[in-house]
């Protein structure tokens, strides 16, 4: 692993945050930011890492002067940009700093761009706001920066609307917008989190390239240690509104001093697959054959073409093993999961669950077979009915299959203990639990049906790494105990490596590679699989053991 081992002691200090504190407006609670100190030099990339709620985004918005006025207030400290305290500037002066001296790019390029304005005009607006250039000069500058961010076919994209561009192109537009006036400081708030892994790699490379070209200082906010390893010069670790540790990237990854940092790093899943489970017997509990799903029928006077979401998808799972489906967004992996659950109707193919083909059954015929296959969804905040107690949610399915109420309640209590929650949780409501706890409850609801197969559709993707590790651990234990088969849908190769015995790689609705996890991840055959693995950030580093990854 090659880190950026550059020294910045002699470089100019661009941003110096001293003892910055932020609180909820009018609240007397614990501060959101508590005496935060960050220094960034010219040309340096500082990564601010932490789990959700640690205050990293609040820090960046405070620097931009964009904190929601009636929600958050700065209660103390200094934000020093090249000798000027930003907190002392009035509205107009602060407005003039933005885009000229400091710029920001955001996580979700789709929502961050105005949907009803052409992207060229949106870039040009920066020049309108801060310069008095003649129109032709403006256009020239815009085209120039669009070329610098390597957008293809600049003339066409200049006149395009955001929804006509890909996610990566949109983020390039954002970067162009942020850098057109060559600001001293670029703040990037999780700029690649919403992007696919291959696109993420390109965007990271672009930021690095432009930073070197213009000598920009970058404050990069991320939760992803892999990204940190790739791009950081210096790392600041945040927890509960405080900076708990900061160091040059290699020092931090090799010798973390704080216990919290160590735990954070140890929770990062390794890209080296865990040993596969034995194939005890060969009872196929799920067998998918020639699955195909086409969305959208042609409508009168409409040019919308039907989209092929999945084609020729065939695989099977054996009892007690885990099959992962890996792919980027739009690869069709979730479509496959939803077809198998019969939440949507497959266009063609067979889905055999407990040796019955359920692909063609009507809703009514399907119901007796539903219990054999259960699902856990991605979003823990929406997968439990907010009006129901946990107990009501857990017994719902059991009652459908003839279990008596008292029996179902008793079993639900046992299940809660099995997933590591107290039995008295039965009487409480979902909003009283954290995301990770809710995901445990969702798992309990699924296994309450004693299914043969558990479908986990991005089930840990919305969780922080430390929680993610615990939930993966839980699934692993449950599989040991119950011999359940798991179909694990994920975009994250690291997660796949930790939980899967076999991996299916999907691209454009088709399976491009299907083999044991060890073979797919260590000796990929298909070009696309190779590209995916090469794009995984920090793939040469063994985070959990604070050292280089030893070639297997």
């Amino acid at each position: 692993m090659r880190f950026k081992n550059r020294r910045f002691d002699d470089a100019d200090r661009v941003l110096n945050i001293r003892d910055l504190s932020v609180s909820l407006s009018g609240g007397h609670q614990r501060p959101i930011l508590d005496k935060v100190n960050v220094t960034i030099h010219q040309g340096e990339t500082v990564c601010l890492v932490g789990e959700s709620g640690s205050g990293k985004s609040v820090t960046s918005l405070a620097v931009m002067g964009l904190l929601t006025k009636d929600a958050l207030t700065v209660t103390g400290g200094v934000i020093d940009l090249e000798g000027q305290n930003l907190l002392e500037l009035d509205h107009k002066a602060m407005r003039q700093m933005r885009a000229r001296r400091i710029s920001m790019i955001f996580q979700e390029p789709m929502t961050a761009l105005n949907p009803v304005m052409q992207v060229g005009a949106q870039i040009e607006e920066v020049l309108d706001s801060h310069t008095k250039l003649p129109p032709r000069e403006k256009k020239k500058r815009v085209v120039d920066i669009m070329n610098q961010v390597h957008l293809p076919d600049v003339e066409r994209i200049y006149n395009s609307y955001p929804h006509q561009l890909s996610g990566g192109q949109r983020q390039r537009i954002m970067i162009a917008m942020a850098l057109i006036l060559e600001p001293k400081l670029l703040i990037a708030d999780e700029p690649t989190t919403a992007l696919d892994v291959t696109t993420q790699n390109q965007v990271l490379a672009l930021i690095t390239e432009l930073q070197e070209k213009h000598g920009t200082a970058v404050l990069f906010i991320t939760h992803d240690m892999g990204v940190v390893a790739e791009i950081a010069d210096t790392v600041y670790v945040m927890k509960d509104g405080q900076i708990i540790e900061h160091a040059p990237v290699e020092t931090l990854l090799r010798h973390p001093t704080e216990e919290y940092t160590r735990r954070l790093l140890q929770a990062v899943p390794s890209l080296i697959p865990r040993p596969a489970r034995e194939r005890n017997g060969a009872v196929e509990v799920l067998d998918v054959e020639g699955l195909r799903k086409v969305y959208g029928i042609r409508r009168l006077f409409s040019r919308a073409k039907p989209t092929l979401a999945a084609q020729d998808v065939s695989f099977s799972i054996i009892r007690g093993r885990t099959l992962g489906i890996v792919g980027e967004s739009g690869s069709g992996k979730s479509t496959v999961a939803r077809c198998i659950m019969r939440l949507i109707d497959p266009t063609e193919g067979e889905i055999r669950v407990a040796s019955t083909d359920i692909a063609r059954l009507s809703r009514r015929e399907l119901r007796p077979h539903r219990r054999h296959i259960q699902i856990v969804f991605q979003d823990p905040f929406r997968s439990l009915n907010p009006r129901w107690t946990i107990g009501q949610s857990l017994i719902e399915g059991q009652l459908n299959y003839g279990t008596s109420r008292s029996e179902a309640i008793k079993r639900s209590g046992e299940l809660l203990e099995l997933v590591g929650l107290p039995a008295d949780a039965l009487k409480r409501y979902p909003h009283q639990f954290s995301g990770g706890q809710r995901q445990r409850i969702a798992i309990a609801r699924a296994i309450a049906m004693r299914p043969d197969v558990l479908v986990a559709d991005e089930a840990v993707s919305a969780l922080d790494v430390s929680v993610q590790a615990q939930v993966l651990q839980l699934l692993d234990e449950l599989q040991e105990k119950l011999g359940i088969a798991i179909l694990f849908i994920t975009h994250d190769l690291r997660v796949a490596a930790q939980i899967c015995d076999e991996v299916v790689v999907m691209q454009h609705g088709r399976i491009v590679e299907h083999d044991t996890a060890a073979n797919v991840l260590m000796h990929p055959q298909h070009d696309y699989t190779r590209a995916l693995i090469e794009a995984a950030p920090g793939r040469h580093w063994d985070f959990a053991n604070f050292k280089e990854l030893e070639p297997a």
Binding site: M64, R98, N114, P115, V116, M117, H163, R299
Partner: protein, 313 residues
């Protein structure tokens, strides 16, 4: 985009067809003898027979329907039971005052309401926001005719600035037209302004929380451009929608306002028809106003394609 427009236009057909069926059935499915209801308690058998004949109630119902639709398609809206003149020509001679007052009202309302809503949203929770919201709730709560009488009392009777009632055509002089149209327009505009200002504020508040507004601010765009170029344009679709659906309120308001201010428009025609139980006129007014409502909303639907480039399917 052309496909979208054609589909929107075609979608009007079933809606108008169902409206027509509904209006047709309204009279025929009324319990009891509709002719007797319309003629009133004092009717002679001859009068009843004449009404039945005039409404074509003697034929079997499906024949009645076919004849009725056939005449509708030829532009025949029926004949008044009272004056025996074709309803079409009655409407034709009374529609101009209504159109003039109505158009003026819409223009005034949009020009007042949209800035009101924008400012209220921009200064969320300030006194100006509360003032706009109070006005808007008040506008929903006071009956149109009470507003009309209050305005007459203040401006015509007490201050004597404007004539009490009546109507003058623009051809009689612009001054005369405006001095008589002003109060009816303000009366009508009250509820419309309340509605539009409220929707503008609500949808703008929602849009101001969007990421792209934050992006615009992060670019250092001036606040007035953030509001009008970024936010208002994105909030435009619900505002346009409310202008369209609010059109129904405007039509109701016209009926009331014209009788308060003695304007000889189609609203007065309707009220006179109610008092005289002239059902063919009422029926024609329902059909006409529904058609206008559907047409206005069609135009608004089509205008979405110019506001929002994503509507292209």
């Amino acid at each position: 985009m052309l496909g979208y427009i054609i589909r929107r236009i075609l979608a009007v057909i079933p809606v108008m067809a169902i409206v027509a069926v509904f209006v047709f059935l309204l009279l025929r499915l009324t319990p009891g003898d509709p002719a007797a209801i319309l003629a009133g308690d004092m009717a002679t058998p001859e009068q009843l027979a004449r009404i039945r004949e005039s409404l074509g109630l003697t034929d079997p119902i499906h024949i009645q329907f076919i004849n009725w639709v056939g005449r509708l398609l030829q532009g025949d809206l029926g004949t008044s039971l009272i004056s025996n003149t074709p309803v079409m020509s009655m409407i034709g001679s009374r529609i101009w005052p209504t159109l003039q007052v109505g158009t003026l009202t819409i223009i005034i309302s949009v020009l007042i309401a949209v800035p009101m809503g924008v400012i209220a949203a921009w200064r969320h929770r300030s006194w100006i926001d509360y003032a706009v919201m109070s006005f808007s709730v008040l506008g929903f709560s006071v009956p149109v005719f009470v507003i009309g009488y209050i305005l007459i009392k203040i401006f015509s009777i007490e201050l004597r600035w404007l004539p009490v009632q009546g109507y003058a055509s623009p051809s009689d002089g612009i001054g005369a037209f405006f001095s008589r149209a002003l109060l009816p327009c303000l009366t009508l505009a009250t509820i419309y302004v309340a509605l539009i200002a409220r929707m503008t504020r609500a949808s703008l508040l929602e849009v101001l929380g969007e990421d792209y507004v934050r992006t615009a601010r992060a670019k250092g765009v001036k606040e007035k451009y953030v509001l009008f170029r970024h936010a208002l344009r994105n909030a435009a679709v619900p505002i346009m929608t409310i202008i369209g659906t609010g059109f129904a309120l405007l039509i109701s308001g016209v009926v009331v306002t014209e009788s308060v201010f003695n304007i000889p428009g189609i609203g007065r025609l309707t009220v006179d028809a109610i008092l005289a139980r002239d059902y063919p006129v009422i029926q024609a007014m329902i059909l006409l106003t529904s058609a206008i409502y559907v047409f206005v909303n069609l135009l608004i639907d089509i205008s979405y394609t110019f506001i929002d480039p994503r509507i292209r399917y």
